[in-house]
Amino acid sequence: MKKYVIIGNGAAAVNCIEGIRSTDEFGEIVVISEEKHKVYCRPLISYYLEGKTDLSHMGYRGEDFYEKMQCRVLYGRKAVAILPESREVKLDDGTVVAYTDLCLATGSSPFIPPFEGLSSVKKQYTFMTLDDAFGLERGICQSDHVLIIGAGLIGLKCAEGIAGRAASVTLCDLADHVLPGILDAEGAALVQTHLEEHGFHFCLNDSVARFKKNTAYLKSGAVISFDVLVLACGISPNTSLFQDIGGEVGRGIVVDDRMRTSVENIYAAGDCAEGADVSTGRKRVLAMMPNACMQGYTAGVNMAEGNKVFDKALPMNAVGFFGLHVMTAGSYEGELYEEKTEKTMKRLFTEDDLLKGFILIGSDERAGIYTSMIREQTPISSVHFDLLKKTATTAAFPAETRRKKFGGVV
């Protein structure tokens, strides 16, 4: 009988469990979970602080999920080493767990640059886990001025989450625009204006030279005093367990399109893994929910001797701030088609007869039609692109394609 071990208990791990159970009803499954919670929706921690959801609605699966899947979860336990020869995982309490197939679904950790004087800051938080959200909930009061280092997705979502709980929120980023991982400068400017209208302050193209208690001294000479500090400078994939056994690691744990790593019987999925991006063909860590789920499920099926390939990974993000929605996918390379108004922006990037990527800001278009063109690498010459570029509509596909897509075989 197979003995599956999964390190981590996030979205990738849970989809891995489901992948295994879709193929193998009986194998034993053990999950090693450093966090003491049942799997929850990580992206919802900002919505929790904002009051847009509550604990009873944040579960990623039902209360009886692990029971139904017949797996054992070791809560509060951390894996500290992999012993590939004996096929065992060593835990922080000294015990070992044997595996026939292992999945690394360890996610990522906040990256914290070595700021001078950081240890003198009393109230400092990161923003990755439910416990971080609880910490902030307890730690902030209405009169507090909050400084967030990092104006990427996590920093901005945190800002939105706590806006109603603090006196002011200031965000500082090394990059010269907000959401540097997702948007180009012009798109970011629209979002920044919108956020400024909601009272946020920004110090961009700047970074902290040193902290002294409740004061940050920036490289530009600016001085910011604050009550609460949030560090959202970026994330780094949790790869050390695998690195220690000499496995192939780039920025993340390198995986093929079946989520196999360089070491036999070890798989990886989610934020800790680095797989191929179809929009560029290059390997890349894609730290986002859809990818974690797809990779996790794929790993699970293959661990259980099934056969599943996931070779359609794409960078994509949908994120909203105070009602302004941003949808992006793919890469921003090639020829540009653009539509702009004061508050909205649409950019489509095309190259070699393919749609490569897009940015939609303030739009409620059916963007998935564009995303699927990138994912499926649909030739632009096979659709009415003049119609499609203006509106995301399946009417731009030939009737035959549409018949296949909609299953209307008549």
Binding site: N15, Y47, P290, G320, A329, R403
Partner: protein, 147 residues
């Protein structure tokens, strides 16, 4: 195999009646005039096309639904083949809109996502769009699996 809603482009008149039947079936009201008159409607089926062709689009209830895998709030799920949405869990992030290849999800009046659930969750019990289509362009039948 399960029954799905299919549309025959040749027969679709582009009259948008299905949108009205859908909005009414999901309004929870018993009087169509009261439910719809003079209000913007938020149907879960929508008509697309141009002067030459038209056809109605609603959720395909995919076999391997990318929306379910992508939802950041686990608000979407598969229940006996039907892709359902839990409106109390949805936070309106638009990730599902970003991934659905058919454009089958759109926000309702309250900003929360809506999609076709085949009228299994409302009073109607079977797709209202099918019953209401004057030209029988929409059918509810078994045809095989959707990817």
């Amino acid at each position: 195999m399960m029954k799905r809603v299919y549309v025959n482009e040749k027969w679709c008149l582009g009259c948008h009646l299905c949108e009205y039947y859908c909005a009414f079936a999901n309004s929870g009201l018993s009087d169509m005039v009261l439910a719809l008159k003079g209000k913007p409607i938020y149907p879960r089926i929508h008509v697309e096309g141009d002067e030459k062709i038209s056809y109605a689009v609603s959720c395909r209830h995919c076999e391997d639904p990318i929306c379910v895998k992508s939802c950041i709030a686990a608000a979407l799920s598969k229940d006996n083949g039907v892709i359902r949405i839990d409106k109390n869990k949805c936070v309106g992030c638009y990730t599902c809109v970003l991934v659905c290849p058919y454009g089958a999800l759109a926000p309702g009046e309250d900003g929360v996502m809506q999609k076709c659930e085949l009228c299994l969750q409302n009073e109607c019990g079977e797709p209202a769009c099918v019953k209401g289509c004057p030209n029988k362009a929409i059918v509810y039948e078994e045809r095989g699996e959707m990817i």
